[in-house]
């Protein structure tokens, strides 16, 4: 392994960390320099990630190590699964950074915002690249810390309340993960994540401890993955600015939780051990219940962002569901959904932000006829919403298809009912929005038309930095569905991961 191969994962983390730290020291009015730093970080990271993707697909491995604790080095490693998440974060970070620059134009404390924003992404890619549980834990906690200032960025009473709740949930979750990690470390040390898990040999001797550790880890990770009943922070955190919501819901936080569950089940415990310890049914039921519960709650919301937030609660649990089914086809669905949900949800939050920033439309009842004023944004919204329902050929359909097949494969046909039910509920809460947007009668006056970008429908319907990322992610959501069969799609990569995990 050459030096470059060793340093690559570290450089991916540093490519956003260093610009972020420099941004903290900038004055508010150094806009060009800040933008330059932001964008150079984005593009350097993209270049590094693409290099690693090519490398891994050719069979190279990337690993960086630093001694830290006894039997637990700090390890950053690029394998197939971690790169799936890293790629997603990097692409969405790019879109979200551009969006945030446009969104926050002229508002105070931008250096602080972008500083923490970069830290947040650094923590996310660190967590994705983490080679063992201790490293994962480290970045998991850093992610909590880096996100908090963003959630409370507006500094209002509501923002602070949301921030405190966010902290209470995530720090408690982090402590549970810590206990789980220590417990496993006591049994087996903290070796690297291993395909098929590294705990199988301890099954007979330590089954009670292993079960407890699994429960601790899933409970702790479930907080960030917004599993019922520890999902409460997510809907409340929607008071944060739209780019932060995008970060929470698609790029970083809930994904970190879901990704952690994937890692724990596949690479720490291993499918066989989870099966033998009979840990699958509770997780499966919990995921299934959260899917339905999130959908029902979403239906009851009158505010757009809140509806989207509960929709996330439901959609992220698809990933957990796919993992809990413990079959290869469902696993493909789960890992692909990690990407698909991110793309679609980020699109939806961008759209909600566009409506709010341009016309001050926050509530669903104000959305009537908004498609005539902002056709492109509404088109993107439609793509995202249809994708969430699972309409072909958008990304979401691919996931549901594999989850359904996977459920049949392992003989859990009832899961199909959950999928269909959730699809119906999704339709119930998204179709009215689409109908209102396109066919509703526009009001005489919008709540407050800020005239961003020029104010005429079409390319000038809002600030270009808000519109462009929205359209970009919407188009990508369609592309990953249409091109699912090709070798460059997230689905193909998910198959690669699963082939390794299930040694097919």
């Amino acid at each position: 392994m050459t030096l470059l191969h060793m340093l690559m994962p570290l450089m991916v983390v540093l490519s956003s960390l260093i610009p972020g730290l420099i941004i903290f020291t900038l004055r508010e009015d150094q806009i060009e320099l800040r933008t330059l730093l932001n964008l150079s970080g984005v593009f350097i990271k993209m270049a590094l990630v693409i290099t690693m993707l090519i490398g891994v697909s050719q069979g190279y491995s990337y690993e960086f190590r630093l001694p830290f604790l006894p039997n637990a080095d700090l390890t950053l490693r690029g394998d197939a699964l971690s790169l799936q998440f890293v790629t997603l974060s990097s692409i969405l970070w790019m879109a979200t950074t551009i969006y945030a620059i446009g969104y926050l134009e002229g508002s105070p404390l931008r250096s602080r915002f972008f500083g923490y924003f970069s830290l947040c992404v650094s923590a996310t890619v660190g967590l994705a690249l983490a080679g063992n549980l201790v490293t994962f834990l480290l970045f998991y906690e850093l992610l909590t810390l880096a996100t908090f200032p963003l959630v409370v960025h507006r500094g209002t009473k509501a923002a602070l309340r949301a921030g405190r709740i966010y902290l209470a949930y995530t720090l408690a979750g982090g402590t549970l993960v810590l206990l789980g990690v220590v417990l496993l470390h006591d049994i087996a040390g903290s070796p690297e994540f291993t395909i098929g898990g590294y705990l199988t040999v301890f099954e007979t001797e330590h089954s009670a401890s292993l079960t407890l550790a699994f429960a601790l880890l899933i409970a702790g990770l479930g907080v960030k993955a917004a599993l019922f009943p520890v999902h409460g922070w997510l809907p409340r955190a929607m008071v944060a600015p739209a780019p932060v919501s995008a970060l929470l819901h698609a790029v970083a936080v809930v994904k970190a939780g879901a990704f952690g569950i994937v890692r724990v089940v596949y690479d720490v415990f291993g499918v066989d051990l989870v099966q033998n310890l009979n840990l699958m049914p509770p997780l499966l039921w919990l995921a299934a219940f959260t899917i339905i519960f999130g959908s029902v709650m979403a239906l009851r919301q009158t505010e757009l962002k809140k509806r989207l937030a509960y929709s996330t609660v439901s959609q992220v649990s698809y990933i957990t569901l796919g993992v809990a089914l413990l079959g290869p086809i469902a696993a493909i669905g789960a890992i692909a959904h990690l990407v698909h949900q991110g793309l679609m949800k980020v699109t939806l939050f961008f759209c909600a932000g566009n409506f709010a920033e341009t016309l001050h439309v926050h509530r669903i009842q104000d959305m009537n006829g908004i498609g005539k004023r902002m056709p492109y944004t509404m088109a993107a919204f439609t793509v995202g919403a249809l994708g969430m329902m699972g309409a072909p050929p958008i990304a979401g359909f691919i996931t549901k298809w594999h989850l359904g097949l996977g459920a049949l494969e392992v003989g859990q046909a009832w899961v199909l009912l959950v999928l269909v039910g959730s699809g119906l509920l999704n339709a119930l809460y998204f179709l009215p929005l689409i109908y209102r947007g396109w066919f509703g009668l526009p009001p005489k006056a919008w709540p407050e038309d800020t005239g961003l970008g020029g104010g005429s429908p079409g390319w000038r319907e809002t600030h270009w930095m808000l519109l462009l990322p929205t359209l970009f992610t919407a188009v990508v959501s369609i592309l990953v569905g249409v091109l699912a069969g090709t070798s460059i799609s997230p689905l193909a990569w998910a198959k690669l991961v699963v082939d390794l995990e299930f040694s097919l």
Binding site: P67, E141, L145, K157, L160, G163, L171, L179
Partner: protein, 475 residues
């Protein structure tokens, strides 16, 4: 050993010098501290090749001589003491809110420095008594530097400390009467399990607990630490309470009969758990910023007490690594927290917690320092606080019977997170805050950030650090 003696003597000599000359006071002391730090580093380097170095003062032989012993643990503690004195001295010299270039802070802090180094090096019960007395008197004098408002707190501190000294001395006298020696190793070889030994140790334990402000004997601490000048609060919380803890650890592991130590250990561990929660609870309730930080010391000493207790209970010397990691991590983090809190209090002109509203905007560096230090107090990875907690948690998970202790640690973690973020969240509240920003002092804020960065940087040297502590603690 000569380097260690130099590190010990220099601050003391410089204190006498400035008392005589009364010129360039702060400069002299700062310079002496820096040289003392260098000497401590040299001693630390030396001890790597020769793990245990002994010196008999004045060339007498035991039992008459006073014995000094240098291990990698106390060499590290000497480095820590000198580093913190130097940093805090810089703050006191250059901050607009420091005590001034000619104040009595300088000679007093230098004496404090020497007394601490003497305490780390001594292995003799009576010599420890002398260093403890010196430490207390100087500390009380330092507290009074903030003027008449601190007199009451200082008086309370003085009275309780003198009572504590009496207890300790009584215990020492009993042991001397019983065995006729004061040297730790000699006592360790001679001591038997008798009623007198137990009584003597109990008296010493009470005195030391009172001096170290270990729960439930902590009541003097919040007042004294909160009312002292900022630089002094930092020294007191970071270093002074750790001195008696050091003696407590050595006497109980070396002299105490095993059965007695185990009984005490259980009580310590229980008290420690209570301290974690009750200290945090008080920190959550107090309306004053520096009092909050002071209560955090009470809570954090709970970790040390649990660790010491379990070490005695299970007779596992390995836990000493965790104990001293806690001490080092807490010392660094607490210096940051106190300097940041004091700087904010002075800048905003109010000691109320509510004054830090919006501080993330007006004093971002100080607030950042507080938050980073807080991260280590909570024990977030990879900070020094986390390292200590990690080592402590390992044996707790080895057997299901020990799991309740892990629960106490978990609750303590959450409780410390609650009071740290009580401050941090308030700092992000920028609704309704006056737009006119106060004049801030960048250098002072950077100085407050430095130790917090060091405590997180410990992650980079975690493996050698653990090695030094374990070899130093179990020679």
């Amino acid at each position: 050993m000569n380097w260690a003696l130099l590190s010990l003597a220099l601050p003391l000599l410089s204190a006498f010098w400035v008392l005589l000359v009364r010129r360039a006071v702060s400069e002299t002391i700062l310079f002496a501290t820096l040289v003392s730090l260098t000497a401590a580093l040299a001693a630390f380097y030396q001890v790597q090749s020769d793990p245990v170095q002994t010196l008999l003062l004045g060339d007498w032989t035991l039992p008459l001589a006073i014995r000094f012993e240098l291990t990698s643990l106390n060499a590290l503690l000497m480095v820590l003491t000198a580093t913190i004195h130097f940093l805090v001295g810089l703050y006191n010299r250059f901050s607009r809110h420091g005590s001034g270039r000619y104040s009595d802070y300088w000679p007093l802090s230098a004496v404090l420095h020497s007394a601490l180094v003497a305490l780390w090096l001594s292995r003799d019960l009576f010599n420890w008594y002398v260093t403890l007395e010196l430490l207390t008197l100087v500390a009380v004098a330092l507290v009074t530097l903030s003027g008449p408002k601190a007199y009451r707190a200082a008086l309370g501190y003085l009275v309780l400390s003198l009572i504590a000294s009496l207890f300790y001395l009584l215990g020492v006298a009993l042991l001397y009467g019983e065995y006729g020696v004061l040297d730790l190793d000699r006592l360790s070889a001679l001591a038997v399990d008798s009623a007198n030994t137990r009584l003597a140790l109990l008296l010493m334990v009470l005195g030391l607990m009172l001096k170290a402000a270990l729960w439930p004997l902590y009541l003097w601490l919040p007042d004294a630490h909160a009312n002292a000048p900022t630089a002094v609060s930092a020294l007191l919380s970071a270093l002074v309470v750790k001195g008696p803890l050091f003696i407590l650890w050595l006497t109980l592991t070396q002299i105490a009969p095993v059965e007695f130590a185990q009984q005490l250990g259980l009580i310590f561990a229980l008290f420690g758990s209570v301290a974690l929660l009750s200290g945090a609870w008080s920190a959550l309730r107090t309306p004053y910023l520096k009092t909050l930080v002071a209560y955090s010391t009470v809570a954090q000493l709970g970790y040390a007490l649990i660790t010491l207790g379990l070490l005695l209970r299970w007779q596992t010397p390995e836990l000493a690594t965790a104990l001293w990691l806690f001490v080092i991590a807490h010392a660094l983090a607490k210096v940051s927290a106190f300097l940041a809190a004091g700087e904010m209090q002075a800048t905003f002109g109010s000691k109320e917690l509510i004054a830090v509203r919006g501080a993330s905007q007006s004093m971002p560096l100080a607030m950042f320092a507080f938050a980073v230090a807080g991260g280590s107090l909570i024990g977030l990875p990879p900070s020094g606080g986390f390292l200590a907690k990690w080592i402590l948690l390992q044996p707790l998970f080895a057997e299901p019977a020990h799991w309740p202790w892990a629960l106490a640690i978990l609750l303590g973690t959450l409780a410390s997170a609650a009071y740290v973020f009580r401050v941090v969240a308030l700092a992000f509240d920028r609704y309704d805050v006056e737009t006119e920003l106060p004049q801030t002092d960048a250098l002072a804020q950077w100085l407050s950030l430095l130790p917090a960065l060091v405590v997180w940087g410990l992650a980079l040297i975690s493996q050698p650090l653990m090695l030094w502590l374990s070899t130093g603690a179990n020679p």
